[in-house]
Symmetry: C2
Subunit: 242 residues, 2 copies
């Protein structure tokens, strides 16, 4: 139980801690851990021992526990009552379940953004789209992924529905690891993603909410199929599950 596949947690961040503006230690640490989890620097099923992490960040266990609870709320770590925490496993089934939920929610968000996006938001969308296309051209998967995340974040921020934003923040964090895999895994994937995002942003620009909704659902459905295929072909090195 809770097999630490590799002392992975140790590989992140220099032993020191430069929490420059620790607005709140717990949030800060949660964000850092989240980034490491999403990019698989901390692989799924890694045990997270509070005392360990607290030493690594040079703080006490209190903010660590806060961070763990935040990550648990996001679904990125699992916490068993007195047995500790571990990074949530990944599986094809989990990804499928995420996509099923993401499809209608992201569609709602795109439709909302088509109705509510202002000039500033549109500018941000176009900028991110350009960055994504450029990254795709030069085959920079990480940059394309980052730009794509920026697009979806902007959409969520302007969907005009706070509850939807909250739900999307949950399901989207769950999806992030898989999206990261997809971008790293296959280059053909990026091409279609760029095209779909371009069409989506065009629809939003025209205030065509129905079209934006439709494109988004298609996009998620397609990326689901692609990513599942990749997962099954074993292209993505996800640690095998028990």
């Amino acid at each position: 139980m809770l097999v630490p596949p590799s002392g992975a947690v140790r590989n992140l961040s220099p032993p020191a801690h430069d929490l420059s503006t620790p607005e709140l230690l717990g949030r800060e640490i949660a964000q850092r851990l989240e980034a490491d989890i999403v990019t698989l620097r901390i692989p799924p099923e890694t045990r997270l021992i509070e005392d360990d992490i607290s030493r690594r960040f040079g703080v006490s266990r209190s903010p660590i526990r806060e961070a763990m609870r935040l990550l648990e709320a996001d679904g990125l770590v699992l916490r068993l009552p007195r047995r500790g925490s571990m990074v949530a496993p990944m599986s094809a089934g989990d990804f499928d379940a995420i996509c099923v939920c993401r499809a209608p929610l992201e569609a709602l968000a795109s439709a909302g953004a088509a109705r509510h996006a202002d000039a500033e938001a549109m500018a941000a969308l176009r900028t991110a789209l350009t960055q994504m296309a450029d990254a795709e051209q030069r085959g920079d998967a990480l940059a394309a992924f980052t730009a794509n995340v920026a697009i979806t974040d902007t959409l969520h921020a302007h969907c005009g529905n706070p509850v939807l934003r909250r739900l999307l923040s949950v399901v989207d964090k769950l999806a992030l690891r898989y999206r990261y895999c997809a971008y790293r895994g296959a280059s053909g994937f990026m091409e279609t993603a760029v095209a779909a995002n371009r069409a989506l942003i065009a629809a939003i620009d025209l205030r065509n909410d129905a079209e934006a909704s439709r494109i988004t659902e298609d996009l998620i459905r397609q990326s689901r199929l692609d990513t599942l295929a990749m997962l099954q072909k074993g292209i993505l090195e996800i640690t095998p599950l028990g």
Copy 2:
């Protein structure tokens, strides 16, 4: 500081604490507070001061903080960085946003339940439906509400999608206060709700997932309109917002 509009927090649990099986204090306390928030015994916008609550439950602040974080994750309380927590406000706009998100998710859950529900689940659904109908007959709003919650909880538990369950647990907790209001507010509401739930359960029994999905969406759309009307007519005594 701590404006108890009506010593509301004090009305729960005898001053002592009989946490009989405190599997985990934080969860236990979160559940109690959640129940009080949902039933408006702790009204919206009530400030929740950790030290206060800790004294009330006879425990230290540590588990209280855990509880607050859980409630924050559920969206029932708002936590500002160094300024404390308060019960999330209620508003017609918030309710509307909740319904928009609930509709597709509950529809997915009903469809999933139509595919996955076993005999035991069906029995639970029928039992709850009977209780709901009985409660409606004798005008017992609280019992009808409770039975309805049991129905939706059973549906969620058997939707076959863990991610969907997680999302529904979030949005449903947000919706719970408004649903409670709706049942207390108008009796005509209960009648249609019973009929719709009966049709829904029949569809699930027939494994007709499309029909179950459709009924659920209609049900939420209708209850949204009804509840909004009630809210606007001021029937429901929601504390006015700032």
